[in-house]
């Protein structure tokens, strides 16, 4: 029903991701959103770091950059500063963005530079062997937490909101069609926008926690997610292990590259 092939490097498929991994579902969502906006392949730069999610840039036929671990946002900032007319999309994972690249992440949000981040949150470092990531929920097992995680986890969307992002939303791989709309809004939005896409990892996370295969984990995502509007009526104690989905924040704030251009223009006027 939808022609994905025009956005794919077909000789690179099949995808490297495990059977049941939700990343492919989110990837399709991104492609549908891009199609809806009507951007051509050359108008988009897709930048990714290291990790399962970051393999995505190898499969899509845009201008792509596969960079060092955690530094996707640093490279993307460079691309956006040189070519402000380019639509820059960053593909990153929970570990890539909030652990190794934690500082790049909060400062990109603080500057409010016009970059759209699609963050694949699978609660684990999948590619490197299932180590616990900053978003692994407390009590869950990982290869580096065989008796259960004793740390608290990050609220990734809350972090971006507090740091000053223009647009923050959270969706799940189960509700892929809703995710399309969030990604579309995020790309259209001027300023830093984040879409946190919850995605199941049956191999590194599900297997250690006996959550079943990808299909069962998708069902779990469905059961755990609550729309933000509905959650407002529920006491916060009951929401601790829930995923609040929907648009967290959508506001208009001054954008970095525009402000930078204004500064250049004003200094050039002065020197004339």
């Amino acid at each position: 029903m939808f022609d994905y092939n025009k956005y794919l490097r077909l000789n690179k498929l099949p995808l490297i991701w495990c059977p049941g991994c939700g990343h492919g579902i989110v990837m399709k969502s991104i492609l549908r959103a891009i199609d809806k906006i009507g951007l051509s392949n050359d108008e988009i730069t897709m930048v990714s770091g290291i990790g399962c999610s970051s393999r995505l840039t190898g499969y899509v036929d845009f201008n792509t950059l596969h960079t060092t671990h955690g530094r996707a946002l640093a490279f993307a900032t460079g691309v956006k500063m040189v070519k402000p007319e380019m639509t820059v999309i960053v593909i990153t994972g929970d570990g890539d963005a909030t652990a190794i690249g934690g500082n790049h992440y909060i400062h990109a949000a603080r500057r409010n530079i016009d970059i759209s981040v699609i963050l694949f949150n699978n609660n684990i470092y999948g590619m490197t062997g299932g180590q616990l990531s900053p978003t692994t929920p407390a009590g869950f097992n990982a290869s580096t937490a065989p008796y259960g995680n004793v740390e608290n986890s990050f609220n990734i969307s809350g972090l971006a909101e507090a740091a000053g992002a223009s647009f923050v939303a959270r969706g799940t791989a189960f509700d892929a069609l809703k995710l399309d709309k969030m990604i579309e809004k995020a790309i259209r939005k001027k300023g830093f926008s984040l879409v946190e896409a919850m995605s199941p990892c049956p191999t590194a996370f599900g297997r250690r926690n006996r959550l079943g295969n990808g299909s069962k984990m998708l069902k779990q995502l469905k059961d755990d997610s609550i729309p933000i509007a509905k959650a407002a009526k529920i006491p916060t104690e009951d929401l601790t292990d829930k995923i609040l989905t929907g648009i967290v924040v959508d506001r208009d704030l001054p954008e970095y590259t525009e402000n930078y251009q204004k500064l250049i223009d004003s200094l050039q006027d002065k020197s004339k």
Binding site: L8, L15, G20, A176
Partner: protein, 73 residues
Amino acid sequence: MNKEKKLPIIEIKKEWCKGCDICVDYCPTDVLAMNGLYAEVVNLEACTSCGLCEVRCPDFAITVTKPDSKSKK
């Protein structure tokens, strides 16, 4: 009496299918089933061409083409 119902076309790319079961579990009318390692169409008549299998297939392995009838979707 009725004209023969036009059926959608469901293509499954075996080279890309990893047999994750997602399409089979989330098909609302049980059109698909697992055949060994790959998904397979077993009951095409029941297909309503909702496209949920295509949306949720993580491996770009399923494409659903709606029948081109003039009636409503």
